[in-house]
Subunit: 81 residues, 2 copies
């Protein structure tokens, strides 16, 4: 079981990557100091590995958050439980 | 297969819920106009249903994004592939 704070850093990293991808520069400029994540965010490569996302042609063109949402929806449809 | 734009709205909603949860009010105040999501975000209930998240005691205390990250990590560990 991973600590919540560690998972929070991952969420922050996902959010930052998402903001960067969509060029939400003003949001990012406020987010980083407000969330104290100017340093200490996970890079995309680490994040992807950690979340079990294999970078393929399709994923490389979008933010990881989009991929994460897709995965959750797939799991819901295919797996259930 | 869901359209990418629809999934983007879900990402935006997850981000907004995350920001709200951690009281990142300044970020939220910039995010909503910059991402044009002042209206038209999914509520938590809809989001949870759509992402296959069952709201339990554990999940209710945190933002859905945290739950989404947990799910991805679980899938990676338990499932593989």
């Amino acid at each position: 079981q991973e600590k919540v704070e560690v998972r929070e850093i991952k969420c922050n990293s996902l959010v930052a990557e998402f903001l960067r991808f969509f060029n939400l520069d003003f949001t990012l400029a406020v987010f980083q100091p407000e969330s104290s994540t100017l340093n200490g965010l996970d890079g995309r490569e680490n994040l992807a590995r950690d979340l079990g996302i294999t970078e393929a042609e399709g994923t490389a063109g979008g933010p990881l958050l989009l991929e994460v949402v897709r995965k959750c929806q797939q799991k819901k449809i295919s797996g259930g439980g």
